[in-house]
């Protein structure tokens, strides 16, 4: 008799996994015998097994395509194999080009190329400095010319002249 607090299809918890394996015929001999002995006495597990037997087969999708489908299948497959064979051949030709060269030489060449690329290509990858904005530069220039600091720069401009005079003085002394 089925107890009210337990649904008819609810198997004993410790046997749930075994029941699934029993249904699929995947239990070892001794486990199968134990399971069958249990099933004789347990109505819950019998109901659970019956439910699985009813439900699981209907989950499989059946599809029987017509014979034309299979002839199309084979034809398409041959076409796809043609393309794949073509690609395979193409790669083999490339591989054959490099075949006479030993692998160690190829590896050395690749490392050298990488080193050269890193050495000489370094500057090429740096972002170039932005060009000065001519308009803003022209706006700032007149203001800068009025600054005292820049007027003192005249002294620096005349340094060459002072050095020349100094050199002449030393030479005459």
């Amino acid at each position: 008799m089925i107890a009210r607090d337990k649904p008819a299809s609810k198997a004993c918890r410790n046997l749930e996994e075994d029941l699934v394996l029993y249904y699929y015929g995947e239990l070892a001999e001794s486990d199968r015998r134990n399971c069958e002995a249990h099933l004789k006495d347990c109505e819950y597990c019998r109901a659970s097994l019956a439910e699985m037997s009813k439900l699981l087969p209907i989950t499989a999708a059946h599809d029987e395509p017509p014979p034309t489908f299979w002839s199309d299948y084979s034809r398409e497959m041959r076409q796809k194999l043609d393309c794949a064979a073509e690609r395979k051949l193409w790669w083999r030709r490339i591989a054959d080009l490099f075949a006479p060269i030993p692998m160690s030489a190829l590896a050395t060449g690749a490392v050298l190329l990488l080193a050269l690329a890193l050495t000489f290509g370094k500057g090429l990858w740096q972002p170039s400095a932005p060009a000065p904005d001519d308009e803003s530069f022209m706006e700032v220039l007149p203001i800068a010319e009025q600054l005292d600091f820049f007027s003192d720069m005249e002294l620096l401009d005349n340094l060459d002249l002072l050095e020349t005079f100094g050199g002449q003085g030393n030479g005459t002394a």
Partner: protein
């Protein structure tokens, strides 16, 4: 002069050896031998005729491209089966992007009712069959990839736990757990049909 043995008489492994030597016709023979099984597996995953065809053909192409890697430790079909299942799982990941509505429409239009509910004699029964297909497709779609794979390979394809473990490259105990969880989830989702 050497007699040419028809490819149809050769075993899979002998055909593979010929393919590895560049005999493409030998591979075509392998396709002819296994295309229906491959299609059915792909259909279990995709539940769409055209998709199943594309997936199984993609698996054959991969097998052809990588035939050099086949070392004969397992049978050709076991090796190919693994490629096919992986192609189907990749498809499923891609298909997740499509809406559930599109999927369900496909299921309804492509999947024929199983023998248990076939020959519907009344519109009501026909409606139930359609609803069941719809619900089964949706319930399977909700399962995590590994549970779904274990379930399909066992329930639909009838592989042994050991073969599933080999195909999924996992332990047999893990397959048993996936299978149990998948069955439990499906029973909950489809309780009204039990």
């Amino acid at each position: 002069m050497m007699a040419v043995i028809p490819t149809a008489r050769l075993g899979d492994e002998e055909l593979v050896a010929l393919v590895q030597k560049g005999d493409r016709r030998a591979f075509e023979e392998l396709v002819e031998r296994h295309k229906q099984k491959a299609y059915r597996i792909a259909f279990d995953f995709a539940r769409d005729r055209e998709e199943a065809k594309d997936l199984s053909q993609e698996a054959f192409l991969k097998a052809f491209t990588h035939i050099g890697r086949f070392d004969g430790r397992s049978g050709f079909y076991t090796w190919f089966y693994r490629i096919l299942v992986n192609v189907c799982l990749d498809y499923r990941r891609r298909a997740k992007r499509t809406s559930a509505e599109e999927f369900n429409e496909t299921v309804e239009s492509q999947v024929e009712p199983s023998p248990l509910i076939s020959n519907p004699v009344s519109p009501d029964q026909h409606a139930i069959a359609g609803q069941l297909s719809h619900r089964v497709g949706a319930a399977l779609e909700l399962l995590p990839a590994k549970q779904r794979t274990a379930f399909i390979l066992k329930n639909h394809q009838g592989l042994s736990i050991r073969e599933i473990a080999e195909t999924m490259e996992t332990a047999e105990g893990t397959v048993k757990v996936h299978l149990h969880r998948a069955v439990t989830a499906l029973r909950q989702s489809l309780a009204e049909f039990a």
